[in-house]
Amino acid sequence: MADDIWILGITMTKFGKHPDKDVVDLGAEAALAALADAGVTMKDMGVLAAGNLMNASAGFGQQLQKQIGQTGIPVYNVANACATGATALRTVIMAVKAGECDMGLAVGVEKLAGAGLLGANGPKSDKKVFEPSGRFGAVTNTDGRIGTNTMPGVFAQVGMEYGHKYGGTSFELFARISEKNHAHSTLNPLAAYTKKMTLEEIMNDIMIAYPNTRPMCSANCDGAAAAVVVSGEKLKTLSLEQQRRAVKVSASVLTSDPWQEACQVLPDVNTLTRMAATQAYEQAGVSPQDLDLVELHDCFATAELVHYDNLMLCEQGGAVDFFNSGAPFRDGSLPVNVSGGLQSKGHPISATGIANIWEICHHLRGEAGDRQIEGAKVGLAHVIGLGSACGVHILEKSALAA
């Protein structure tokens, strides 16, 4: 069994619109770039885990191999909603940690530009004769009649529920969180949107599901990300340059949602995140105060707020105060989503859970250019896939790095 796990190479493509590339093109671009970044080839890989949620049954991993190298290694095609990328990475980490191989590749890709509203059940016309069907014995479509299935609406309620419990939230507060992330994105050349937006522009934009306006929702776009994982033992046999740029995976955790009252009424994205964070801090032997930056799953502005609390970046119930203190701004005490987050960098579902780790690695390696968080040594990346799955990774700079 491998003692420690490292990211040897990692990359993300430009997020945005890629009309001239299919998912395999984008996945191959990310995979080949991650291998090049690691200074290795497909022949060195002992396992491949791949995610492409919108074509989850298509065998994307094998399609990718046809383009980048069919070496006969095991392929795990994974699907875990918006946590698909983190699940691919976690799968490779488990294989390396178990000692089945000493290197592996994780890839996540999605083409979502122009996908529109996710979660909406679509237009089912009312039946001509009412007959109960399904687990609720429904005689007709219930979306919009008994609550909402749309993602902006679900996550709006998640933020509002927090406000009801602890107070202090408002439409303006949520909009200011979005304003922060849009401002952060201006320094990220790979973000889908890099336009600074004023609070007024955000609040006066099209309302999707109160209190989330359009710029407060994650941006559907195309993109891919990939990572090469290596065991600590194998890393020692590689060049000093590879060892210097390698980033230590101090914690890798995946959880699902444990039963809670109301969790089947409104998805509970809190408990499994808190569980994952607790396990990750314990595994890594670090506390939230040790973190230099965090990339968390701001699929909607209303979601970012609750995750300050769930990841224990603040005291329980203290998320509003944490934000108002300026802490999560890039010049604050604990910068959150300096990439621009899902609202501005974009959210090509399966790529997200690796792209957020790329962002952390980029800073830990001191390669983040204009948006570099100076002196970053430890970072945390978090994703949530509704249904639910939560991935938390804690990453640390190599002691060999300058």
């Binding site: 679509g122 009312d126 109960p132 429904a138 005689v139 009649r145 509002m160 969790c263």
Partner: protein, 132 residues
Amino acid sequence: MAAAVPIVDYLVLGDDPHLVAHECTGCGARFFDRRNACASCSGTEFQDVRIATTGELKAFTIVAFAAPGVPVPFVAGVIDCDGTSVRGNVINVEPDPDHVHLGMKVKLATYVVGTDDEGTEAIGFGFEPIEN
């Protein structure tokens, strides 16, 4: 009077419309859908329990953009009915933030969702503000 069916099987119609939940006899967890076993304790025995028809709005959103065919705007929310969380719309209220607020007291109300080709009405439910 036209025949009527509830929009979902956990809505009980009649003179005193109310919701029922399947309660796990082992741990007390409550569910509105058909169960194979309890998500909380894996028990397989359930009894039907009546859910309070009044409650407090503990989360909501005002959906302005939905799937085609779903009329907007509408208020979707979670209502705490005496300790049991219920998913439903807030109805008979202006769907704007000036008229809907967290913590507001609401009560169950029913309405006709539609009529099928045999003249049967589907009855839906929502929660309306309790007037002060």
